[in-house]
């Protein structure tokens, strides 16, 4: 049985301008020690989906359906106190902007020991020891001295590391990383990806990595789920996704990635993602899709099994498969 499972999750925002159906019934599984990337563009619902797992959807968002299971427990039916113990305990989280999760007036040490004293019931001294160990784990130099420093005394890359340290403080079994490298420079981004890859191996934790950058996660995760307009349109082991994508959106994304050393025009996807308040009768990607037929505009495609552990929500996946073979 998988460690973390999301089943037919639905999350919506009831705003003055209408209902934004951000997550429209997504399902995925994460194995113990595994790594899954949720890839999507802005507005695809990837972040709301991750926040729903830990029940941190901001107002006026509501989880309206589905199940989230961690081990044996249904997270959506836990009491708020139990849920707090899960967050920061069994599930660690890191976000794009470290300053939003670090408290500027508290020392690094205080922020790192708060969770371990609360969740693990450690003494002050034991918590401080664990904090030093955690800072060393994320390769912060002079870890012990850092405990008395404040977030503003750190550089951007170091803050990101401290935030990862906070997420790891209680040695969670799952790390949820929501675009943790987007605001960072490429060389620092590479350091952080390498760090998380290493931590996953050393601590045996599972990683859920939310990103818009397919290339970034290619060498790091086991599986990828591609989101478009609130739905998962394709889900596959990473090698299968890159070698034989079975959804036109995934194919378009892969082709539009620039490759180092290539020159000239890029292949692009025409048009733009739909307004999230609109309810399309058929496949949300159909208006931009070169393969779309009548059925695509009238009937929402369910996820279909197209290979081992490989699902695609495309009525025309067989035609795509034939086309990729013809190209090769």
């Amino acid at each position: 049985m998988s460690l973390l499972e999301v089943d037919k999750l639905v999350t919506s925002f009831h705003t003055g301008q209408g209902v934004v159906r951000a997550v429209r019934g997504i399902s995925w599984e994460l194995d113990e020690g595994g790594a899954l990337a949720i890839v999507g563009e802005s507005g695809s619902g990837k972040t709301v989906g991750a926040l729903s797992v830990v029940r941190l959807v901001p107002e006026p968002g509501r989880i309206e359906g589905g199940r989230v299971r961690l081990g044996e427990r249904d997270l959506l039916s836990l009491g708020e106190a139990e849920m707090r113990a899960v967050r920061g305990g069994e599930i660690g989280m890191i976000f794009q902007d470290p300053m939003t999760s670090l408290n500027p007036v508290l020392t690094i040490g205080r922020q790192l020991t708060e969770a371990t004293r609360l969740h693990l019931g450690l003494s002050r001294a034991a918590a401080a020891e664990l904090a030093v160990e955690t800072l060393e784990l994320v390769r912060i130099p002079r870890a012990r001295e850092r405990l008395t420093e404040h977030p503003h005394q750190l550089s951007g890359g170091q803050r990101q590391r401290v935030m990862i340290a906070m997420a790891l403080a209680c040695r969670p079994s799952v790390l949820i990383a929501d675009e943790p490298t987007t605001a960072l420079d490429v060389t620092i981004q590479a350091q952080i990806v390498e760090l998380v890859r290493d931590l996953r191996a050393r601590l045996g934790m599972a990683v859920l990595w939310i990103t818009h950058d397919l290339a970034l996660v290619a060498g790091f995760v086991d599986a990828v789920a591609v989101m478009y307009a609130g739905r998962i349109v394709e889900r596959a082991p990473v090698a299968a996704l890159f070698r034989s994508p079975r959804h036109p959106y995934t194919m378009g994304l892969l082709r539009s990635l620039p490759r180092l050393g290539d020159r000239g025009r890029l292949s692009s996807i025409p048009g733009a993602p739909p307004d999230p308040r609109e309810e399309a009768a058929g496949c949300s990607f159909a208006p931009r899709c070169p393969f779309a037929v009548e059925r695509c505009r009238t009937e929402v495609p369910p996820e279909m099994e197209v290979g081992e552990g490989h699902g695609s929500a495309c009525w025309r996946w067989e035609a795509l498969a034939a086309e990729t073979v013809a190209r090769a």
Binding site: E41, H212, L214, A218, L260, S268, P270, A272
Partner: protein, 328 residues
């Protein structure tokens, strides 16, 4: 355009009397040419001074020292009227078109404004020119009466491009024109910039941090680090056989969109972060992060040397460029 010894310092003021106690040397002696009809990509991480260079080149922020010659004329020697006349021929595209467009001005008004300012064409003919500019950037002409907030990021960037093209400039500085856009839209804008260059015979100075994207569109690439140029040469040569250790690290940090990364040897990652430009390291600015640094690098600034063959200059600023291991 010829840029010679360009410098831009920002004073650091402290205390009650706002005394100047130092200077941030954002751009510190940078020289390069942008040849008629080419695209020169200027690459660097945050703090490299690449955007400051862009603004100093167009005298949006006049440089503290150095010369910028546009078609042989020193921009600093021009009076306000002449400078404004020269600006017609050099325009800028910004990273965030939303921030650079007046939210209360219609899209048509925004594109028309430069025509009014420079008195281009008969007033009656200007609306027609606006319609043709909007068409040229792939927007339907009926968008002219709408406001920026009604548009997606990609469409707003198209408006920003139409506005930059209004005065029929020959030279365009594009500062991170795609980095705020979603992946599937980035390729559209890159292709538009390539098409416009071809049809209008434009010259581009493209400022960006994304090396693979820059490689796709640039004829030559310049790499900046902490206010200085590290390397400059043909795009293919710089990206395929980078000489400077910093360029090599940048190239290695670019995520490769392939799922087999674990089978590849991992690239050597750069340690640490970019130091503050208020107190740049002595000698070679890259030495604190460079795996090949010696005492010489800590003391003396490296010369700017041409390692390229005839007709294919490849400039590098590194003491040890001859003895470094060959790039694989």
């Amino acid at each position: 355009m010829e840029v010679r010894g360009l410098e831009k310092r920002f004073p650091i003021r402290r205390g009650f009397l706002r005394r100047t106690v130092g200077a941030v040397r954002a751009v510190d002696g940078v020289s390069f040419d942008v040849r008629e009809g080419e695209t020169l990509g200027l690459v660097g991480e945050s703090g490299s001074g690449k955007s400051t260079t862009a603004r100093a080149v167009l005298r949006l922020d006049p440089p503290t020292a150095g010369r910028v010659l546009f078609r042989g004329r020193d921009l600093a020697a021009l009076g306000p009227h002449e400078l404004r006349a020269a600006r017609r021929h050099m325009q800028m595209i910004f990273q965030d078109p939303y921030a650079s467009l007046n939210p209360r001005m219609t899209v048509g008004g925004a594109v028309r404004e430069p025509l009014d300012v420079h008195g281009i064409g008969a007033p009656a003919a200007r609306d027609e020119r606006v319609a043709s500019l909007l068409r040229q950037v792939g927007l339907p002409a009926d968008v002219a009466d709408r406001y920026p907030h009604e548009f997606s990021g990609g469409q707003r960037q198209r408006v920003g491009i139409a506005r930059a093209l209004a005065t029929s400039p020959g030279f365009i500085v594009a500062d991170e024109p795609i980095s705020a856009l979603d992946v599937s839209i980035q390729a559209q804008i890159v292709n538009l910039l390539l098409d416009l260059k071809e049809s209008l015979g434009l010259t581009y100075l493209l400022i960006a941090h994304d090396l693979s994207m820059v490689g796709h569109v640039s004829d030559r690439v310049a790499v900046m680090y902490l206010g200085r140029l590290a390397e400059l040469g043909d795009a293919e040569s710089v990206l395929r056989t980078p000489h400077h250790p910093y360029t090599r690290a940048l190239v290695a940090a670019v995520p490769v969109p392939e799922p087999v990364a674990s089978a590849r040897p991992r690239p050597a990652l750069l340690r640490g972060e970019v130091p503050s430009p208020a107190a740049p390291p002595a000698g070679c600015r890259f030495h604190p992060r460079c795996p090949h640094a010696t005492a010489l690098c800590r003391e003396r600034e490296p010369e700017w040397r041409d390692l390229g063959g005839p007709g294919a200059a490849h400039w590098v600023a590194c003491h040890h460029v001859d003895s470094l291991p060959q790039p694989s």
